[in-house]
C-alpha cells in the first residue's frame, strides 16, 4: 500500500475513455504536452475499436518525474466520458484496489473494471461542460485529471492557447473555463494522486513519437530519398517525412506498392542518394526479393519495419515483435545484411540514424525493427544527443583504369563509382559476378563474393552501441526492442527487493557479435529471454547464434497486450529462483 503511494508520487498512469467524437485522444495529447511543459516525462499510447470513426477509444498515459518508456503494471486513474463498449479495453487497462474509476453521474462503470476493486467516483461531466458556452466534456476531464495529480493548470492553459488558436479565442476561453471548472469539481480527491513535481525544470524536453524520431534520425543520417507505400503502423513515419524531407531538399515518393518502393530506393542509392523506406510486416514480405538485390549488388538501402501483430494481415493496430525471423532470415540465398532494433522512443532516432550510417558505410541493406508500440507511442523525452553518424559511403571519385566495382580484398568494402564518374562504368548485378560485375557462375567467384559480402559486415567494429547492458547479477535477462522498457522497470522493482539482474539488449541483431555477447554474459549462470512473440523467435535466434553452456529460458508473450513489468518480475522470481 505504502509502496503504491511511493510509486504514485513519481509516476501516475491515467486512461481516458470515450466514444468517437468525445475527444479523448485530443485530451490525452494535451495532457501529455502540458505535463511536458511542466517538466514531467511521460508517454501516451492509444487504443480504439475496429470502427474507422465513432468507435470507442482510449488514450493511455503515464506521467512521471523520471523518463518512462512503458506502461506501469496498473492504471491509477480511469476516466470515461462514456462507457460505450469500454470493456473492450479491459485487458489493456489493468486496475488495482488503489485505482480510481471516474465516470459520468449515474452511468454505471462496467463490471469488468469495477471487479478490480478500484474505487469509483461519479462526476457530472456533461453538466459541467454545459455550464460553459461551447464547453466540452473532454476539457472538463482534463481539468479533473490535473487536479487529481496536482498538475498546475497554467501549462495546460498555454497548450490550449496554442493548439486552439485557429479555432478562435472563444474556443480557447470555453476550453479554459471547462478545464478550470473540472479541476474545481474533484473535491476531496484533489491531489490524491499527487505527482511530486521537481522545481528545477528539465529544460530541453521533446514531445515526439517513435515514428517521428525514426524519421528525424533518417534525415540526420543523410537520407534524402524515401519511396513508400502506406501501411499501418508505419504511415505516420512517412507522413512526417514527406514535408520534412522537402525542408532539406529531399523528396518522398508515394509508390504503387512495396515492390516499387524498395526498387526505387535501389535506383536512388545507386545514384548516390542515401535512401530509406518504412513499412510493416506484409510490406516487408513483399520487399525481401529486392532487399536481396541490394545485398548482392551492394547497394545501400534502409527499410524500417514498424512491426504489428502477425501473421498475415494480423492485427495491424497492435504491437508484436514477431517479424524478427523474417528480418534476420527472410532473404533467399546467403544474403548477409544488417538488422537493428531501437529500444525506446528516443532510440528510434539513434538507431535509425546508425542504420543509415552502417548501410552506407558497409554498402548493404539494413532492416530496422521498430514496432507499433515504439512507433506510435508519443513521449516526453530528453532531447536526444547529436551523434556523428552520417552516411559515409566509400566512393570511387576519380576515373580509374580497370575499375572493379566488386573488387575483393581489404575490408570487403569496395569503393563505389557513381554514374557521372568517367572511366568507371560498370553494371551492378544481382547475378553472381566476378569482381568486375560481369556475371559468373564459377565457384571461386561465388565464394569470393560471398566471403566479401559477409566479411565486410562481420569485421566492422560496431563499438558499444551493439547492445545496452545494465546490471551485475548472475542472472541475465536478454531482451530486445520495446520489450526492454518493461524489463528495465522489472529490474528497478527487483532492485528495491535487493535483487540485481543483468540486462542485455542487443541493438544490433545482425551481424551477430559472439565475442561481445560472451563478454556481456561473463559470469552469468542463467538467462531469461523476454520477447513479445508467440514463437519465441528471439529465444531461438539466441540459441542459434549465441549457444551457451547454460540453457536459455523463454518468456515469450504474443501481442496485442504489452508485457507488464510485474509479469517479468514474477517470471524472474520463478526462474531465477530468487
Amino acid at each position: 500500500m505504502e509502496e503504491h503511494k511511493d510509486r504514485a508520487s513519481s509516476s501516475i498512469s491515467i486512461a481516458l475513455i470515450g466514444s468517437g467524437g468525445a475527444g479523448v485522444m485530443t485530451a490525452g495529447s494535451m495532457l501529455l504536452e502540458a505535463a511536458g511543459r511542466a517538466g514531467l516525462f511521460g508517454i501516451m499510447t492509444r487504443s480504439a475499436g475496429p470502427q474507422i470513426r465513432g468507435g470507442e477509444a482510449a488514450a493511455m498515459l503515464r506521467l512521471a518525474t523520471f523518463p518512462v518508456e512503458s506502461h506501469d503494471n496498473e492504471f491509477d486513474i480511469l476516466l470515461a466520458i462514456d462507457w460505450l463498449n469500454a470493456d473492450r479495453f479491459r485487458a489493456e487497462i489493468p486496475l488495482g484496489t488503489q485505482s480510481l474509476i471516474i465516470g459520468e453521474t449515474d452511468a454505471e462503470p462496467p463490471q469488468a473494471f469495477t471487479d478490480s476493486g478500484a474505487r469509483t467516483l461519479e462526476l457530472p461531466l456533461k453538466q459541467i461542460a454545459r455550464e460553459t458556452d461551447g464547453g466540452r466534456e473532454n476539457m472538463v476531464v482534463l481539468g479533473v485529471v490535473c487536479s487529481l495529480i496536482g498538475l498546475p493548470l497554467e501549462p495546460l492553459h498555454q497548450v490550449l492557447e496554442s493548439l486552439l488558436k485557429r479555432k478562435g479565442q472563444a474556443a480557447i476561453d470555453s476550453s479554459v473555463a471547462c478545464v478550470d471548472s473540472g479541476a474545481a469539481h474533484t473535491g476531496k480527491h484533489q491531489g490524491s494522486y499527487q505527482l511530486s513535481l521537481s522545481s528545477e525544470k528539465q529544460c530541453d524536453l521533446w514531445n515526439i513519437s517513435g515514428n517521428e524520431a525514426a524519421g528525424l534520425g533518417a534525415i540526420r543520417g543523410g537520407v534524402r530519398f524515401v519511396a513508400a507505400y502506406p501501411i499501418t503502423p508505419a504511415t505516420e513515419l512517412l507522413e512526417w517525412m514527406a514535408p520534412a524531407l522537402e525542408q532539406v531538399g529531399g523528396i518522398l515518393v508515394q509508390a504503387e506498392d512495396e515492390l516499387a518502393s524498395v526498387n526505387q530506393l535501389i535506383g536512388a542509392s545507386f545514384g548516390g542518394t542515401p535512401s530509406l523506406t518504412a513499412t510493416s510486416g506484409p510490406g516487408l514480405a513483399l520487399m525481401t526479393e529486392s532487399i536481396g538485390l541490394a545485398v548482392a549488388s551492394e547497394t545501400p538501402i534502409v527499410v524500417v519495419d514498424v512491426m504489428r501483430g502477425g501473421p498475415s494481415t494480423g492485427i495491424p493496430t497492435k504491437s508484436e515483435q514477431s517479424d524478427l525471423n523474417i528480418a534476420i532470415y527472410g532473404l533467399h540465398g546467403d544474403a548477409p545484411h544488417l538488422v537493428l532494433a531501437p529500444m525506446s522512443v528516443a532510440d528510434c532516432l539513434f538507431t535509425t540514424q546508425w542504420a543509415i550510417h552502417l548501410a552506407e558505410k558497409l554498402q548493404t541493406a539494413a532492416i530496422v525493427l521498430s514496432d507499433q508500440n515504439l512507433g506510435q507511442t508519443r513521449a516526453i523525452i530528453e532531447r536526444p544527443a547529436d551523434v556523428a553518424f552520417v552516411s559515409g559511403r566509400s566512393i570511387q571519385e576519380t576515373p580509374m583504369e580497370g575499375y572493379q566495382r566488386y573488387a575483393v580484398g581489404g575490408n570487403g568494402v569496395s569503393p563505389m563509382a557513381l554514374p557521372g564518374t568517367a572511366g568507371c562504368q560498370y553494371t551492378a548485378d544481382g547475378l553472381e559476378h566476378a569482381p568486375s560485375g560481369i556475371p559468373s557462375s564459377r565457384a571461386e567467384d561465388h565464394r569470393q563474393q560471398l566471403d566479401k559480402r559477409r566479411d565486410k559486415l562481420v569485421n566492422h567494429d560496431y563499438g558499444d552501441h551493439w547492445a545496452l547492458i545494465e546490471g551485475e547479477g548472475e542472472f541475465a535477462v536478454i531482451t530486445w526492442g520495446s520489450s526492454l522498457a518493461p524489463v528495465r522497470e522489472a529490474r528497478a522493482m527487483l532492485l528495491s527487493d535487493g535483487i540485481d539482474i543483468r540486462i542485455i539488449a542487443p541493438r544490433l541483431l545482425l551481424p551477430v557479435q559472439p565475442e561481445r555477447m560472451q563478454q556481456a554474459l561473463a559470469g552469468v549462470t542463467g538467462a531469461l529471454v523476454v520477447e513479445q512473440s508467440h514463437g519465441a523467435q528471439f529465444f531461438h535466434y539466441l540459441q542459434a547464434f549465441y549457444p551457451q553452456k547454460f540453457e536459455f529460458m523463454s518468456m515469450a508473450q504474443p501481442g496485442p497486450l504489452p508485457i507488464r513489468p510485474e509479469q517479468v518480475v514474477a517470471d524472474i522470481k520463478t526462474r531465477g529462483k530468487y
Partner: protein, 282 residues
C-alpha cells in the same frame, strides 16, 4: 540535323560498347537492338558515364553489361522503379530502361502502367519477342493466344494479348513508338527521338527470338512503316491504334503531358528547423 562534326574526338557507336560478349544466340534480334542503342548514343554524343541503362531479367535484359555506360541488372520485372528512383534523384543523367516483354508486361506489368502515369523523363525500350526466351520458350503477354508451342500452355494461352502501345497511351506515356530489329538504323532514330522527348518514352522493338520462335524471322517481311507522322493528340493516337496490326513501325505519339519533375536538391539540413516541432517550450 546533327550539330556535331566528325572530328576525331567524336564518339562512335563502338565507343558505347563494352568488352563483354553477349550470351545471345547468333541471329537474335537483340544484337541489332544493341547496335541501335550504340548508334543512338553516338548520334546524341552522350557522355557514356552520364548514361545509365537499367534492366530486369531475361535475354534482352542482359543488355546493360554490353554497353560501356553505367548499368544495373536488377531483378525480374522491377527495372522501371529502379530507373524512376534514379532519375528523380539524379536528373542530370540520361536514364534508360530496357528489357523483355515478359519482364515488362507480365511480372512488371503494374510498374509499366504506373511508370507511364508518373511520366518521369526517361526512356523504356522493350525488346518484344512474344516469348520468354531466357526460360526456354513459354508464352508471354504479347504472345498470340493460339500459339501452342509454349510448354506451359500446350493449347495456347487462349487469353487476350497485351497491347503495349494501347496501355502506354491509356496510362499516360508521353512518347510512344514501335521499331523493328530488322532496321537497326530506324530503331536508333526512334530511340534518339525517345530520349530527346521529355517525359516517359516507350519504345517497343520487335526483336525476334530465333530459337523459340523461329517463325519470327518472317517479321522482316511483315513490318511496314507507319502511314502517318506522330501525333500529339492522344485521341488521334488512340484511333490509329484501333487499326493497328501490331506491325507498323514508327513513332505514334509525341505528347505534351507534363513530366514528373519534383524538386530535388539535397542539403545538409538545419537540424534545428526540423527539431523545433518537437521541442517543448517549457
Amino acid at each position: 540535323m546533327d550539330q556535331t562534326s566528325t572530328s576525331t574526338a567524336a564518339l562512335k557507336p563502338k565507343d558505347y560498347k563494352s568488352d563483354t560478349k553477349p550470351v545471345w544466340c547468333p541471329g537474335c534480334g537483340d544484337f541489332s537492338v544493341l547496335s541501335a542503342f550504340t548508334k543512338a548514343m553516338a548520334a546524341m554524343q552522350l557522355d557514356p558515364e552520364r548514361v545509365v541503362v537499367i534492366s530486369g531479367i531475361g535475354c534482352s535484359s542482359r543488355i546493360p553489361a554490353y554497353l560501356n555506360v553505367y548499368g544495373f541488372h536488377a531483378v525480374h520485372g522491377r527495372a522501371l522503379p529502379v530507373g524512376i528512383g534514379l532519375k528523380i534523384t539524379r536528373p542530370d543523367l540520361t536514364v534508360m530502361v530496357a528489357g523483355g516483354d515478359g519482364d515488362g508486361f507480365s511480372i512488371g506489368g503494374n510498374h509499366f502502367m504506373q511508370a507511364c502515369r508518373r511520366n518521369v523523363d526517361m526512356t523504356y525500350v522493350v525488346m518484344d519477342n512474344q516469348v520468354y526466351g531466357m526460360t526456354k520458350g513459354q508464352a508471354s503477354p504479347t504472345t498470340e493466344p493460339d500459339w501452342e508451342r509454349g510448354k506451359l500452355t500446350p493449347h495456347g494461352t487462349r487469353i487476350n494479348p497485351f497491347y503495349p502501345l494501347v496501355i502506354a497511351l491509356a496510362s499516360g506515356a508521353n512518347f510512344i513508338a514501335r521499331a523493328s530489329s530488322n532496321d537497326p538504323n530506324g530503331a536508333a532514330r526512334v530511340i534518339t527521338e525517345a530520349v530527346q522527348h521529355p517525359g516517359f518514352s516507350f519504345v517497343q522493338i520487335l526483336s525476334p527470338c530465333i530459337t523459340f520462335r523461329p517463325e519470327q524471322r518472317d517479321w522482316k517481311k511483315i513490318v511496314h512503316p507507319a502511314p502517318v507522322v506522330a501525333t500529339a493528340d492522344p485521341a488521334v493516337a488512340a484511333r490509329r491504334l484501333m487499326t493497328d496490326d501490331n506491325f507498323f513501325i514508327g513513332t505514334l505519339f509525341k505528347g505534351e503531358r507534363v513530366p514528373f519533375t519534383p524538386e530535388f536538391e539535397p542539403r545538409a539540413e538545419s537540424a534545428h528547423e526540423l527539431e523545433t516541432a518537437f521541442r517543448m517550450s517549457a
